[in-house]
């Protein structure tokens, strides 16, 4: 029998109150600002109704940013999972326990780095003249390779850094997931002369479907935080080829025109879209 006690209320209330205030006040305020025409230089604004939202839909840079953001999500989530599952299986299959422990620690390192650091490390590595990653190309062809200034490769190059951070990290999780599987189905498959890769495509990956979907979900949320990498590596350029929604909202609100209300309406739309999509996925995953 549980007797009445004060612990849950006393432990839970302060934390929840603070979270609710800290989350709701900005959210409500974002909507409030988005209905005005405030600018950084002019602290007072008038209500303009939904004008900002209507303007957004004829703003080609906004439409472009939606496309870039969706591409970014698809590429980083997809590549991260492919790298994670591939390396996770290799860790499980080919590495001795000691090697696994060492590699797991090394694979954790990129994701713990501040994104600003990761972005700079790679920005410098991709430097057309002095970069270590572009050096082999330069040595062989005699031409500099400038991946970050090329509209065709810039986004993929930034995405590579994201996959470097998350794919390696998730491979460690995939390894741990594989270690939790019971060995019997694998032995049975081996007795049936199944090839190694078949035991994975037919047994292991289907058994791990639920946790892998959860990993994809986590990565989808984390991929929304592309800003740091893009800000340091390309600032949305060349042109607007790597300008994601948060990058565009930032430059509208701060760099170019200080149109906070306009930026805020973009932020509100992002908030609504992500809340709907992720709530829907979360309920499905559960």
């Amino acid at each position: 029998m549980k007797q009445k006690n004060s612990l849950p209320a006393i432990f839970l209330t302060p934390a929840m109150m603070i979270l609710a205030v800290l989350a709701l006040v900005p959210t409500v305020y974002a909507i409030y600002i988005s209905l005005q025409n405030r600018e950084l230089s002019r602290p007072d604004g008038d209500f303009v109704g939904l004008a900002n939202y209507i303007d957004l839909f004829s703003d080609r840079r906004f439409i472009n940013a939606i496309g870039v953001s969706l591409t970014w999500e698809a590429v980083t989530v997809g590549m991260t999972l492919i790298v994670a599952v591939g390396l996770g299986i290799l860790l499980f299959e080919c590495a001795s326990p000691r090697m696994r422990n060492i590699l797991a620690l090394l694979f954790l390192m990129p994701v713990i780095l501040p994104r600003v650091s990761a972005a700079f490390v790679w920005k410098f590595a991709f430097h057309p003249l002095y970069g270590i990653a572009t050096y082999p190309y330069k040595a062989i062809t005699g031409q500099p390779l400038d991946l970050l200034s090329n509209p065709a490769t810039a986004l993929a190059t930034v995405a590579l850094v994201d996959v470097w951070q998350w794919g390696l990290f998730f491979s460690v999780i995939v390894l741990k997931l594989l270690q939790t599987l019971p060995p019997q189905p694998f032995e049975a498959a081996r007795l049936d002369h199944a090839r190694t890769w078949e035991t994975y495509t037919h047994i292991a990956i289907p058994m791990l479907k639920a946790p892998l979907i959860s990993l994809a979900f986590v990565k989808m949320i984390e991929s929304l935080r592309a800003f740091d990498l893009i800000y340091v590596m390309t600032r949305g350029g060349p042109g607007i080829t790597t300008e994601t929604l948060d990058m565009y909202a930032f430059s509208q609100g701060f760099i170019e025109s200080g149109r906070i209300s306009y930026a805020s309406s973009m932020a509100v739309l992002m908030m609504i879209a992500t809340s709907i999509v992720f709530t829907f996925i979360w309920k499905r995953v559960q």
């Binding site: 860790l91 590595a125 948060d246």
Partner: protein, 273 residues
């Protein structure tokens, strides 16, 4: 048989390539931090050079970097402390006293992570401006508490749930009250995972960039902002200094790599048994 052996060999080589890619860029940055500019700006990468401490001396001697370091330590430290003090008890209450709202509370805490940082930063900027608290450590600490508190709760609920119920039951029979059970039993038993959760929250806010970029301009700038400003310098880039500041920025989170990998291990080990 030999095909399998060959496959193993190829697999190992791929793993080594991955390990190399994980470590080498960071190692290279570290190396460059000890180089003079002439040794960095070379047509072929240099592995052998006369190391110099000038870059670190310059970075640490620069007022902006030092101020950023202090700001980062105070802001991250305080927000993590508040997050832990309020978040750990809350997580325990969710894990041990489930009621009909527990799932909703957990979902609410997770859903905070869905919010695009831009969407929080823009209104908060206006709010802090109106309060006259824009670009202060206080406003940054309050803002970051949203991140640390949610993260600590989210990661500590499973840690408390893994504490064997029998142990707490036995303590209750021995006459321990609910608070004594939390402080004397649950907290010490779950301590290792909880330290991991708190360390993760610290790494998260230490590395945070977008919100800090929007909410600070001079007085409360954190180290990632200062470092990113250095990386945007013009043509005649002081590469050595840049590399040194990136190394400096990366050291604190990397110190926690052992704790975080331990947390990962315990999260998966218990699930199997």
């Amino acid at each position: 048989m030999s095909a399998r052996k060959l496959g193993r060999l190829v697999g190992r080589i791929l793993l080594l390539v991955a390990a190399f890619s994980a470590v080498f860029p960071v190692f290279w940055t570290l190396l460059n931090a000890f180089k003079n500019r002439v040794d960095i700006v070379t047509p072929t990468p240099l592995f052998i050079f006369t190391p110099t401490l000038d870059n670190f001396a310059y970075v640490l001697g620069r007022e902006s970097v030092f101020a950023g370091l202090i700001n980062s330590l105070i802001i991250s430290g305080a927000s993590v402390l508040i997050g832990a003090l309020l978040g750990l008890p809350a997580a325990y209450a969710i894990a041990r006293y489930p009621n009909r709202w527990s799932r909703d509370v957990q979902f609410f805490v997770l859903s905070l992570r869905f919010l695009p940082p831009v969407a929080i930063a823009i209104p908060l900027m206006v709010i802090w401006l109106d309060f006259g608290l824009y670009d202060t450590r206080l406003s940054m600490i309050v803002t970051y508490t949203l991140l640390t508190l949610a993260t600590v709760i989210w990661l500590s609920v499973p840690a408390f749930a893994r504490v064997p119920k029998e142990v707490e039951e036995a303590a209750r029979v021995d006459g321990y009250g609910p608070y004594a059970i939390f402080f004397l039993i649950a907290l010490p038993i779950a301590l290792r995972s909880l330290i991991g959760a708190v360390a993760f929250a610290f790494v998260l806010v230490w590395n945070e960039f977008l919100i800090a970029l929007m909410l600070t301009t001079s007085d409360a700038k954190t180290l990632p902002i200062v470092a990113s400003e250095l990386t945007q310098l013009g043509r005649d880039v002081p590469w050595g200094i840049l590399n040194a500041s990136v190394v400096l920025l990366s050291i604190p989170p990397l110190l926690f790599i052992g704790v975080l990998s331990g947390m990962l291990n315990s999260a998966f080990k218990r699930k199997t048994s």
